[in-house]
């Protein structure tokens, strides 16, 4: 059924190794033999057995990508880009979903041995530094901001600056009571975005108020709606809201509409992530747009370099670009 090197060798009348040499582009093969082998390769339709090759080479040819859930638009988009970037470098990607729980994240990290993948890109949600396996086991690249102080390669946008940028934009519109939705002490990213929020308030001469920071257990639409609802119930509700991601913002849009208020006239709303959906929501959503392609490519590039050689140089911290995308939810029509 399956064609192996041996079959090709028999057909071409040379040894198995010579065929292997041709396949791998080894220089010293007599033109005559090369031609015969290539003909045999074409005739049989030979495809290398990836498993066997990697067994021999001590590689698996796979990278893991650990994310909370593919059904979350940001991760669906990111995973698609990572797969493409990996493919371009000859890697296959295995996706592991953790639902964003610390226990599943830890289990996943443990189960990822060098026997299964050569390296991993992890986008943790709730992991603590202590959960990380003994360093040096396997190349690991962290994706997305986190508050862990660890010696691990890392690729992300500057979350503090990005949050600052979004909130400054709200302030520049003349809004005075700017709320935040999405605080969650268990999530690393949360404290970064909160810090940017606070620094922007300060820079605009606005005072910080605890009551304007609404927590969210999960960064999903329903939680954004619930948080917005409670903010609107305050004695003096906010006139602008910075949501820690677009899903929360989409939920917030709905809560505002259900209350019979208008965006941005009564409440301006800004999000974070620039999901495709946010360009078409009603109103469309002002948001921080990370360069996801750059993120995916930088991460793949980094893990690739670690796997193929560079084991020693110090952990890198790469910042990829972002932009503030101003749309109807703050600008109006």
């Amino acid at each position: 059924m399956t064609v192996t090197l041996k079959d090709v060798a028999t057909l071409a009348g040379v040894s198995v190794k010579t065929v292997s040499n041709v396949v791998n582009g080894y220089a010293f093969v007599k033109p005559e033999n090369r031609r015969r082998v290539e003909e045999a390769l074409a005739a049989t339709g030979y495809r290398p057995n990836v498993g066997a090759r990697n067994l021999r080479r001590g590689r698996t040819g796979f990278l893991a990508l650990m994310v909370p859930e593919l059904s979350i638009p940001y991760f669906g988009e990111l995973a698609g880009l990572v797969i493409t970037a990996a493919r371009n470098r000859g890697w296959n990607v295995l996706i592991e979903q953790t639902q964003g729980t610390r226990s599943r994240e830890r289990e996943t990290l443990e189960s990822l041995g060098p026997h299964l993948v050569d390296g991993a890109l992890v986008h943790p949600e709730a992991l603590e530094a202590a959960d990380f396996p003994a360093a040096g086991e396997m190349p690991l690249v962290m994706l997305g901001e986190h508050s862990l102080d660890m010696a691990i390669d890392h690729v992300a946008i500057d979350n503090v600056l990005a949050a600052h940028t979004a909130v400054s934009h709200l302030a520049s519109l003349g809004r005075r009571r700017i709320a935040a939705i999405g605080f969650n002490p268990a999530r690393g990213t949360s404290s970064q975005r909160l810090a940017g929020y606070r620094s922007a308030l300060a820079a605009a001469g606005l005072s910080y108020a605890d009551e304007l920071v609404a927590p969210a257990e999960k960064w999903h639409r329903a939680y954004g709606a619930a948080a917005m609802k409670s903010l609107l119930a305050l004695p003096s509700p906010p006139d602008a809201v910075f949501c820690f991601n677009d899903l929360l913002a989409i939920g917030a849009l709905r809560a505002v509409a259900e209350r019979g208020l208008r965006v941005p006239e009564d409440v301006a709303i800004a999000g974070f992530d620039n999901n495709e959906e946010s360009e078409f929501s009603l109103p469309s959503l002002t948001t921080i747009a990370p360069d996801k392609t750059a993120l995916a490519e930088a991460a793949i590039d980094l893990v690739h370099r670690r796997i193929t050689g560079d084991k020693t140089s110090p952990p890198q911290d790469i910042q990829t670009p972002f932009a503030l995308e101003i749309r109807e939810s703050t600008r109006g029509r």
Copy 2:
């Protein structure tokens, strides 16, 4: 570095094969030895080398999932479910993205040999029957409706009936000029949904008009908006629209709003797929909700059975359930 069976065997003082027997749950191992081996396994933290095992067993342990793009919500959600269902049966999933183009789809099918994966779930967009490789090469399960008349295992909801259900719902609201958005001769699913649309019109005593069927090159939001715009420009515009998927419907919502009209008062809109986003759009979207979990599990189950034995029974055609989810875009608030 990596622990192999040999290391465990040395530590336990038995042969490699005995360790292998313990790992694989072979019955006849002396309790004493079993205990020693298990201790050694625990002490070393042994993990089987999947590649080597599969090389020996003649399997790869991988399934391929071919979809257009992970960034499309429906496929992100579906892929997440497929990965979970596969994981539960001990399979790993490799995702291949085709961008929905026929050439990439064909290339992908060709590159998927038994050397790389043991089976594949394919969700074609533009493939023709002629593009399929000689049957019997490798277990293949088709996902989603298509108009190909082929002897291949297939899992999907009844698209004709589902479209019929959605359009009947629109008719039951008293709408008389019901349009459709998304026709595309190159897409298999398109003709199924059009058929359901037509049969529902007929059942409601409404006449079919070509001008009310708007084509869409891609089933993305922007194309839905463009199509809706052209429908609204008709001398007598529709009072309801059935969109062939939710993304088109989201685009349509925006076009209606930009025209200054209301949904559902002026135009009722229904979609198809029940993306998570559709529950929170403004207004929320009435849509056909396929049971995606059932779809993923049925597909994995089927390909699993084909791989492990059942090569002979005739191709199956499994229909998974769906429901009509009635929301604000037709019902109103």
